[in-house]
């Protein structure tokens, strides 16, 4: 990790640092050359010519770099990129920090050069030097005049000699006058004769063209001539009158040495004044030079500083920018973001801490997610259990406000409890009359001090036409454990034990029936036989009157016994342990066959059928099922009102419907029988399928009890209710055989199950 970051660090930094080093080296080189150029002994003579353009080029490069950086930064600031404002602020700070001292130094330097250099020069000194040179000149002028006067006669003498004699005359004159050199020459610089020698020159030095022109016009030139290594000389050039043959103008130059003492003094004055004069003259270019160099150096320095400020500001802000982006990412919930560590300083440490923090956050989030998922799965698990529980469960808080309820609770109470979540449990009774008894019984128990209780609650059935049947519930309440501040809520668990009680009742009846059949049936045959025998033996011996009494009595006994036998047989049927033989059969077909028997009856009685298009194949005993159908139809028939027109004639119709559907993945067939009779009395609805519960005057009341028994033998359920408008309705559900369910299109069933399940 550490080595990787170091590598990337090197990779990123090195290419960026090279141009800086290069530029800095160029800058330093150029400044060194500038400094070198200010020395009198230089080592880089050839380079100096290029110094100025090179420095200007450097300036241009810096200005360009800065312009590019300013442009970039401006774009960033306008776009509002993170870190750009901080860069700007840092940059301004750096620039101000660099420019202020440099500006001060610059101003002070320029001032120092201007004022300082000038202060070295003094007007009085200058005047004195000028005076001294004037004095020297006037002194020498006097000397020159004397020499001229002294020489003029000699020139006349020379002019009168012929050229051949000239050298002799010249030597003579040299000796007499003390002159250093005498040269006789023509206008075209041809030397006719000369004598004496001055300095190192082999050939005498003739005056220049201007002097020649002057002299050829008849004037005499008198001037000083500084001759190297020989001191000052006075040069006199005279024109010579022409004599005889030569037409060319001739001239004579006489050089007089000036005495060593005067010469030294004059040269010393000349030297001093010359140096001072040079200095005065050079003052202005010197100042200009220094100003230029200082300006150039400081300008380069400032530009480099500004550019370096850009660079360092960016370098400084880079990790902060990364951090800002990282923080933003974390704020947006992206914990995976990692910032590369590029430095070893405090910022690097900060970034490392940030990375650590995001890692921790990420871990914590993952943990939280995991535990959340665990809780969710736990809850789902519990929810699934609760939802599939046959018991209704309602949880309440300590103020008896409903918090949760499972689907079974709603089903048992026949109310959507979910609508009441967040409301007081007592409000359940509002709008639901039949829940009033439930609430009245439960609430006091909940408010009591018992932490666990159990009670049986009876829910009253709805009024006429209401589907809701009376139910008996077993309710258990448990106080839930709370925390320190609050007491816990309550869990209310209740089961519908109606079926259980009814089953208990059925089994009690079965026991009674079995006893009846066993205990009563046995003595009946001897009673009947005895009565018949009594009649057969005694009747012939009695007279008519007595005989008729006996006959009536024995007939009554036999009839009653017969009737009792019938009743006992019925009971035996009811109590009999079923010996049914199940085989696959089509319920629709079976119903059709039974209904056929009732079609052409003497009564105004009609049986209609409506079958599911899918044959409801069930595994059943056809004999028992036929009996079931007979019983149901007969039951309906007997409930029909008698016709008003014809005595003993019943009228009405029975509707028989079959539908296939599915509940919780189990396919069922629903058989519904509806008549248009008066319906069941409400108070009998609950116990309708118990023996001897009947509204009819005829029959023993075992019809529906047997029906229920047959249904239960086939694993089905039965329910009786009053149709909304008129008549009684009996609903039977029998599970379809496995073979059948395979042939049924399940999706079809499911679609219909939504509508028909109720």
């Amino acid at each position: 990790m550490a080595t990787v970051s170091k590598k990337s660090f090197e990779k990123q930094i090195i290419p960026r640092i090279w141009p800086i080093i290069l530029l800095f080296a160029l800058l330093m080189g150029s400044l060194y050359l500038l400094a070198d150029a200010t020395r009198s002994e230089t080592s880089f003579e050839q380079l100096h010519y290029w110094l100025f353009p090179f420095n200007v080029l450097l300036l241009a490069i810096f200005i360009l770099l800065i312009a590019v950086n300013v442009y970039k930064l401006a774009v960033q600031v306008i776009k509002g990129q993170p870190g750009s404002r901080l860069t700007l602020r840092l940059l301004l700070m750096f620039v101000v920090l660099a420019i202020v001292p440099v500006g001060i130094v610059y101003t002070f330097s320029i001032w120092l050069i201007q004022e300082g250099v000038d202060s070295w020069f003094d007007a009085d000194v200058e005047k004195a030097l000028q005076d001294s040179i004037d004095l020297s000149r006037s002194s020498l002028d006097l000397h020159m005049r004397q020499l001229r006067q002294q020489t003029e006669p000699m020139i006349k003498e020379l002019s009168q000699t012929i050229p051949l004699d000239a050298p002799l005359v010249i030597n003579d004159l040299l000796r007499r006058s003390g002159a250093a050199e005498i040269v006789l020459f023509t206008r075209s610089s041809r030397i006719i004769a000369s004598g004496g020698e001055v300095g190192a020159a082999v050939v005498p030095r003739l005056p220049g063209e201007t002097v020649m022109r002057l002299v050829s016009q008849g004037e005499t030139y008198v001037g000083l001539d500084p001759i190297k290594d020989s001191g000052l000389h006075v040069r006199l050039v005279f024109p010579m009158s022409t004599t005889g043959a030569t037409t060319q103008k001739r001239m004579v130059q006489v050089l007089y040495p000036i005495s060593d003492r005067i010469s030294d003094l004059a040269l010393s004055v000349q030297e001093g004044f010359g140096k001072y004069n040079e200095l005065v003259y050079l003052r202005t270019p010197l100042k200009q030079n220094f100003a230029l160099i200082i300006t150039l150096v400081l300008l380069l320095g400032i530009l480099f500083a500004v550019w370096a400020a850009f660079y360092s500001a960016r370098r400084l802000v880079e990790p902060i920018k990364d951090l800002a982006q990282g923080t933003k990412a974390v704020a947006e919930g992206q914990y995976h973001k990692k910032i590369p560590i590029e430095r070893n300083d405090d910022l690097g440490m900060l970034i490392a801490s940030f990375n650590q923090m995001t890692e921790r956050l990420s871990l914590a989030r993952d943990k939280a997610k995991l535990s959340q998922r665990l809780i969710d799965s736990q809850r789902n698990y519990l929810q699934t259990i609760l939802e599939n529980l046959s018991s209704g469960v309602i949880s309440l808080d300590q103020n008896l406000v409903i918090k949760t309820a499972n689907a079974t609770a709603s089903q048992i109470l026949n109310t959507d409890i979910n609508e009441y979540i967040g409301r007081d449990v007592a409000q359940l009774s509002m709008g639901h009359e039949n829940l009033k008894s439930f609430c009245d019984q439960i609430v006091p128990m909940l408010q009591g001090s018992e932490s666990q209780w159990q009670t049986e609650v009876k829910l009253l059935g709805g009024s006429q036409g209401n589907k809701f049947q009376s139910k008996i519930l077993m309710c258990r309440g448990v106080r839930l454990p709370g925390d320190e501040e609050q007491t816990g809520g309550y869990a209310l668990v209740f089961d519908d034990i109606t079926d259980l009680i009814s089953a208990q009742r059925d089994s009690a009846w079965g026991e009674v029936a079995r006893r009846l059949a066993h205990e009563i049936k046995n003595p009946l045959t001897p009673i009947q036989l005895s009565a018949e025998r009594l009649r057969r033996k005694i009747l012939p011996e009695l007279d008519q009157h007595e005989g008729s009494i006996l006959d009536r009595a024995t007939t009554t006994i036999v009839e009653q016994v017969e009737s009792m036998k019938e009743m006992v047989n019925d009971f035996a049927d009811y109590a009999r342990v079923p010996q049914i033989e199940k085989s696959p059969l089509d319920l629709n077909k079976l119903i059709s066959e039974v209904v056929e028997l009732y079609q052409n009856n003497a009564h105004n009685f009609e049986v209609r059928t409506s079958f599911d298009e899918y044959p409801p194949l069930i595994l059943g005993d056809s004999t028992r099922l036929r009996q079931l159908m007979h019983n149901l139809i007969k039951n309906a028939f007997e409930a029909m009102p008698t016709s008003t027109q014809q005595e003993g004639q019943r009228q009405g119709q029975v509707q028989i419907t079959t539908r296939c559907f599915e509940i919780s993945g189990v396919p069922f067939v629903s058989l519904v029988v509806v008549d248009d009779g008066p319906g069941f009395p409400n108070d009998l609805l609950e116990r309708l399928f118990e023996p001897y519960v009947t509204t009819k005057t005829t029959g023993n009341g075992l019809g529906l009890a047997i029906v229920k028994k047959i249904v239960e033998e086939h694993g089905g359920t039965i329910r009786a209710e009053n149709a909304p408008n008129k008549g009684a309705r009996i609903k039977i559900r029998i599970p379809l055989s496995a073979a059948t369910s395979g042939t049924i299109n399940h999706s079809e069933i499911r679609v219909r199950s939504q509508g028909d399940a109720a």
Partner: protein, 195 residues
Amino acid sequence: MNLILLQKRAITVLLVISITTLMYAFVSESAQARTIAIEVNYLNIAELNDELRLDAEIAYELNSEVREALINGIPMVFQVEVQIVALQKWLWDKVIITTVKTHLLKYHILSKQYVLENLETGESVSFPDLESVLSKQGSVSAMYIAETDYLKEQENYVVQLRSRLLSSELPLPLRMKSYFSPKWRLDSGWYQWPL
């Protein structure tokens, strides 16, 4: 992506333009100075006693700034440089011989004389006016270049001459100025003459 490309192009173009402008300004200025200050009017090379000797006439024209400096006692060194170059077809031309003649020109303030000193021989002449001294300085006669047998016959030779003010010999402040100011760059440039 496009923006970055544009930026880079703009930077390159700017750089090229600035450098070109700079160079042009520099070169043109020096060229201007060259045409005015020193001109070679005449050049002749002759064989004399198996030696190559050069005659030339160089016109010096000093601008007011240089004159002023001279009057104020600034000594100036002028150099005449003569080279014999062997012309080569494919390679760079090869300089075979270089001969240099150097003069110091200064103003003698006490005597009001312009002094011209030959730095090789040490000889000096003085003139009361500038024209005379410049004309003396500009006349080159029978300057020794080389022995004739030094040159091989089969090659093409060119003699070239230039004269210039040696800025390196100027006093320091003027030397700096000479780097920046074309007025102080007195240079004839190379004058070529077939041999």
